[in-house]
Amino acid sequence: MDQLRDANWVLSVGTFLPLAGVLVMLFIPKAEEQLNKAVALITALATLAVGVYTLTQFDYDQAGKMQFVAETNWISVIKSTYYIGLDGISLPLYFLSMVITVLVMIYSWNHIPSPGNPKAFLILMLVLQTGMAGTFIAQDLILFFVFFELVLLPMYFMIGVWGGENRQYASLKFFLYTMFGSALMLVAFLALFFKTGAESFAIPYLVENGGAIAKNTQVWIFAGMFIGFAVKVPMFPFHTWLPDAHTQAPTQGSVILAAILLKLGTYGFMRIAIPILPDAAVEWAPWIGLLAVIGIIYGALGCLAQSDMKRLIAFSSVAHMGFVMLGISTLTSFGMNAAVFGMVAHGLITGMLFFVAGSVKERYHTLEIARLSGLLKQVPKLGWILGFCAMASLGLPGLAGFWGEFPAILSAYNPAPGLSEEIFRVYMVIAALGTVFAAAYLLWLYQRTAFGEPNPEFTSHGHSDDHDEIHDVNMFEWIAWTPLLIAIVVFGVMPNLMFKIIDPAVATIVAGIGG
């Protein structure tokens, strides 16, 4: 364990470096836009560098153990400590958050949404980054809660200030939903704290002692956490904030939201709810699974009903997170592996889709599927990228999406002992049906937007090539997107790059469930 303890500064630096950037930017006048952007980007890159260093220092043979552990006093009165660590589950998400931030920064270089003011925008983004990274490494419930909440306000403003027409409603909705969830979650945390003898908020400690709680109590505490996390995921009945938030948010906001924020919920399930309350998990699993498959079908139906491209993508997130939750609900290492992979894959793919949607919006000033057509003809590269992402999103083997989707379905065939096989096999079939729906709405979207002849209203200025606004993918977009596209392919072809890291960590979690 000792060789894992050294270099314990890495995580703290990686998490709080963005705040240093924020401090610097506070003293840069608003007018110095380029300077602000530069500082923000440099900060993000520096953070990413730390992240890369973390990758290199990570001991992959012990991916199941917490690494870079750091623990110091924080709130001694309530026995909560500043306790951080990283294992195979956290690592991909932790790193992904850094990558996404950098890419979004690059994209923002010439895509600052109205009403401008890059300084504030980028500061919020950096704060967001700290919150996201922190959530994935916190090993203390209170610390986790603080980070978990830290992302709220920046996202609220990102949507509310830089969003679309209906942004104020969307942002408030987003905030109230999440806050409602986390309020109950906090109550659950405290109940957990006292039921385990009011000794500590440290997750490892709670994992050891949580199982001893009486089953009924567990079920109730789990309920509190469930609402907290399910809202964030979002799972079926709690999902309605997502489409609004996504649709109204600026491109960067949507990307971060889809790529990272949604993962906080699923991560919470895997890191906190399930390992700490194994009995309750077994009780809840069928219901979680049920909501998951409902989400899959429901999200797909939602997609088919949309006339707005971005909203469609948003609904597809509901469906995809359904697959993730289905994997988790099986409580098997197979399913959880799929879930983690699914989180990352969904982050890459849907993030990418939102990038594309944003660029389409920027060029055509509309996302109405009915008005768009012939992208392939007018902006071929963008069109091909859209097609690529659609294929990845519908779970085409060889691309990242498949590895979150198929193993999740697979795992539902035999869930952990103690769960009804029949029920979960039904779930499996429904989920498999969901893949067809996914193909349906994505191809349908693609056929209507990319195929056919371009809509004359956009070619009116003469030939489409010299149409002033509508140009093909530009440099910043290429820089921002290429890494994602590559990652989608690489993880699709060599999934073990990630499974190798996840598997041991998940194994340790599942071992606790005794299933």
């Binding site: 109230l176 309605t240 088919l304 098997t332 193993p407 499996m428 893949t435 067809v436 191809l443 073990n496």
Partner: protein, 825 residues
């Protein structure tokens, strides 16, 4: 006896040969994959717009595949006859989950090599052909990129070591099919057809996912224990299926689920409707994907996991099962449909469906080898037919595929095309000695021999119809008087605006080149592939020419896996195990050796060098002539090689079940020949009456005879299948029939996909509007409203009047006091 066992032990000891190409067959799909990437990124900058990369990569992988093929033949010839020819398997860890490794790699055996060679070969020719056919196309580069990617996917599927890898290739093919059918996506019809194809197959793929899952979890523990491979592994699944008791429910469910995927992919009834629509793609695509290679993926899967279906569908010793049923139905309905098509490509499409039905039926009846052999031969002549059709439209009929409108009498103008077409047609009809005969006839024969008598009849009927509709097509295209474009007429876009003339889009660019003069022969890029394919259509059959005796049955020797018990991990090495086995089953061996002819072959060739077993040979001959044909199968059960698939091997595992082989009978061959020629001649006469003399009994028959008219309409609308789907899936049974008539007149394009799409979209919109926006969302916003409402309700309390405040204050205090007093005392 002791000696014999010794001999057996020795023969078993022979080490299998291998070779570089075999060991590294995994490179074969890599080549086109890399080529694909190169074309995508640099294609446009290259002199030939990237097409050269495609062609080269195809030729390269053809070389590799051929090399591997020869080394495999070498391997087989080097092995003893009793020996199981281990497939060349190489695996790498691909991903790991739940604590064990899941692999990617190659599983090379006769089957995979056969298909591999076919794919590489046809792809090469088709790409060469396309150089000319799509010259100047708008998306020339993308076209070749897709073709190459397709080949990569297909080859990957063929060499797949496990189900996941197979699914990978499977889906990539689907994707390419989508891209290629929709190649000219400016026309909505094409993109809809592409969507339909992808979506229909994808629907079938639910079965693939589910089936794989079922099999994986049922088999995994066993395979891990006995073979040290995961439950995805092809090898593992085959062996597990043949352990005799793999939990019949699981394996049946798995088999059915997988077969659903095959139905979708191989255009079997009732999911065949996407295949004819797929003809919207450019002709080379039709010839490569939708006739010779991609659509046989389903058949390949059944052949690949034959043991699973063997057990799951209870193939052995029954006279009817799901696979044969589907196959049989498909043969007939598709063949019937072929009669009423005016689009030459659609005729070929339905004939493809029908031929796929043959393959399925053969596999279903346990005629494994003939079915696989039919994949092989069918690929050549069907590809040739499509290319010929393409050539006709390209140079003969001015980019039209309408036989009635724009063709006729073309044999004069396009001799090469004509000859190759006729050859392939005869091959397709199964005329001796063309390749089709050796495969198709074998299927029919073996189906009958395996006891599926009904389906033998179906097969013969199918043969008759095949001959008939092909003759019709041939007549319409090449005989009679030139019509329309074939007569050199210039006609405008509107004259072939119908959905059966998509190649126009490709022609926009080189319109002038052909518009100037009438029909003529195509150039070398097109004719050379035609000639090559035609030659193969003639000769390919002799690779397994059963009629000429065992010496000619090379395919059987090289490709068919041998139902032999092999040692697994915890049963020691092959050698000792074999010795042990032969010791106790020797009596069985001796008498069955005399009986079943295939075992005779085994003995004869296997130990030809050794005098001591010669007597067996001698004893065999009379027995063979004496005992009746039926006898063979029955006694065959006793032979040790037939143990696989019927009861659990007491030690070791099987990789292939025992299947019967029908002995060739000239009588049966003659019968089928008769049927075929009857078909050809009858159809010829009818065609002459209908299309040239426009008189006689058959002319206008459908007008005169109500029943026939109904039947004709029934066929023209393809049994109303698409319509049926649409009704059921979209509007539900309750939908008023009245509207039906209108929809009947609508054409194919409102089919399953759009139907399902419309329906689901309808539901979706409803759910979204009413459930999501009203209920779920409303609840939340509602609560907000409630809070604000409460606020409003409470405001009057805050009246601003001091006295009321005071009253409230004291009242509250008093009430609290009273209540608490009452509670506490």
């Amino acid at each position: 006896m002791f000696a014999a066992s010794e001999a057996a032990a020795e023969t078993a000891a022979v080490a299998l040969k291998s070779g570089w190409f075999l060991e590294n067959a995994w490179i074969i799909p890599i080549i086109p994959a890399v080529a694909f990437a190169l074309i995508i990124f640099f294609g446009k900058k290259l002199p030939m717009k990237g097409s050269e990369l495609g062609v080269l990569s195809m030729l390269a992988s053809l070389v590799f595949a051929a090399g591997a093929g020869f080394q495999w033949i070498d391997r087989v010839n080097g092995a003893s006859e009793e020996q199981f020819i281990d497939p060349v398997i190489k695996t790498w860890t691909w991903w790991q989950s739940g604590g064990f490794d899941l692999t990617i790699g190659q599983h090379i055996d006769g089957l995979s090599l056969t298909v591999l060679v076919v794919v590489a070969f046809i792809s090469s020719l088709v790409q060469i052909y396309s150089l000319e056919y799509l010259r100047g196309d708008r998306r020339y580069t993308h076209f070749f990129a897709s073709l190459t990617l397709f080949s990569a996917g297909m080859m990957n599927m063929v060499i797949a070591d496990n189900m996941i890898q197979l699914i990978l290739g499977w889906e990539i093919m689907g994707l390419c099919s989508f891209m290629l059918i929709g190649h000219w996506w400016e026309d909505g019809a094409n993109s809809r057809a592409a969507l339909k194809a992808f979506f229909t197959t994808r629907t079938g793929d639910i079965g693939l996912l589910v089936g794989t899952s079922i099999l994986f979890f049922s088999a995994n523990s066993w395979t891990q224990e006995h073979l040290g491979v995961s439950g995805f592994s092809i090898r593992g699944l085959s062996a597990w299926a043949l352990t005799g008791n793999p939990g019949s429910v699981a394996i049946t469910a798995g088999a059915f689920a997988l077969f659903a995927a095959c139905i979708g992919k191989s255009g079997q009834f009732p999911l065949h409707t996407w295949l004819p629509d797929a003809m919207a793609g450019p002709t080379p695509v039709s010839s490569l994907l939708h006739s010779s290679t991609m659509v046989v993926a389903g058949v390949f899967l059944v052949a690949r996991l034959f043991p699973v279906f063997y057990e799951g569908m209870n193939i052995y010793g029954s006279s009817m099962n799901f696979i044969t049923l589907i196959g049989g139905i498909t043969i007939v309905i598709a063949a019937l449909l072929a009669f009423v098509q005016n689009d030459i490509k659609k005729v070929l499409a339905y004939s493809t469906v029908s031929q796929l039905g043959y393959m399925m039926m053969g596999l279903g009846a346990g005629a494994w080898l003939p079915a696989v052999f039919h994949i092989f031969t069918h690929a050549f002549f069907k590809a040739c037919l499509f290319l010929a059709a393409g050539s006709v439209s390209h140079s003969g009929s001015h980019h039209s595929f309408d036989m009635k409108k724009d063709m006729g009498g073309l044999r004069k103008y396009m001799p090469i095309t004509f000859v190759t077409w006729v050859i392939s047609t005869l091959a397709l009809c199964g005329v001796f000695p063309l390749s089709g005969f050796f495969s198709k006839d074998e299927i029919i024969d073996n189906v009958g021999h395996a006891g599926y008598d009904v389906f033998m009849i179906v097969g013969l009927v199918g043969a008759f119809m095949t001959a008939a509709y092909m003759t019709r097509a041939t007549y319409l295209t090449f005989f009679g008087e030139p019509r329309g474009a074939a007569a050199g007429e210039h006609h405008e876009e509107d004259s072939h605006g119908a959905h059966d003339s998509h190649d126009d889009h490709g022609a926009h660019d080189d319109h002038g080149a052909h518009a100037s003069h009438g029909p003529h022969e195509s150039n070398a890029f097109i004719t050379v592939p035609l000639i090559i394919l035609a030659t193969l259509a003639i000769g390919a059959g002799f690779l397994n020419a059963t009629p000429f005796g065992e010496k000619w049955e090379n395919m059987k020797k090289w490709v068919e896996p041998r139902p032999v018990v092999v040692a697994d991990m915890d049963h020691g090495s092959v050698g000792e195990m074999r010795g042990l086995r032969t010791a106790d089953t020797m009596p069985a061996t001796t008498d069955t050796v005399v009986a079943t002819e295939d075992t005779i072959v085994v003995m004869e060739e296997g130990v030809s060098g050794e005098a001591k077993t010669a007597p067996l040979m001698a004893a065999a001959a009379p027995a063979e002539s004496a005992s009746g044909e039926e006898g063979h199968g029955e006694e065959g059960h006793g032979s040790h090689s037939s143990e696989c698939g019927k009861k659990t091997p007491d030690a070791g595992v099987c990789y292939a079940p025992y299947v019967k082989h029908a002995p060739f009978k000239w009588s049966k061959a003659a019968l089928s020949m008769l049927i075929v020629f009857a078909g050809i001649i009858l159809s010829w006469l009818v065609s002459v009456q209908l299309y040239t003399r426009k008189a006689g009994f058959f002319f206008g028959l459908t007008k005169r005879n109500k029943l026939l008219a109904a039947g004709h309409a029934f066929l023209v609308n393809k049994y109303y299948l698409d319509h049926l789907y649409e009704k059921i899936i979209v509007r539900g049974i309750a939908h008023p029939i009245a509207k039906g008539a209108y929809w009947i007149n609508q054409n194919v394009l409102d089919g399953v996909v759009n139907g399902a799409g419309i329906g689901t979209k309808g539901i979706a919109r409803w759910v979204y509007r009413n459930v999501d926006q009203r209920v779920v969302d409303g609840a939340v916003n509602g609560s907000g409203a409630v809070a604000r409402g409460a606020g409003g309700a409470l405001r009057p309390v805050q009246s601003g009047k001091v006295n009321q405040y005071g009253a409230l204050l004291f009242a509250a205090a008093a009430v609290a006091g009273l209540v608490l007093i009452i509670i506490n005392t």
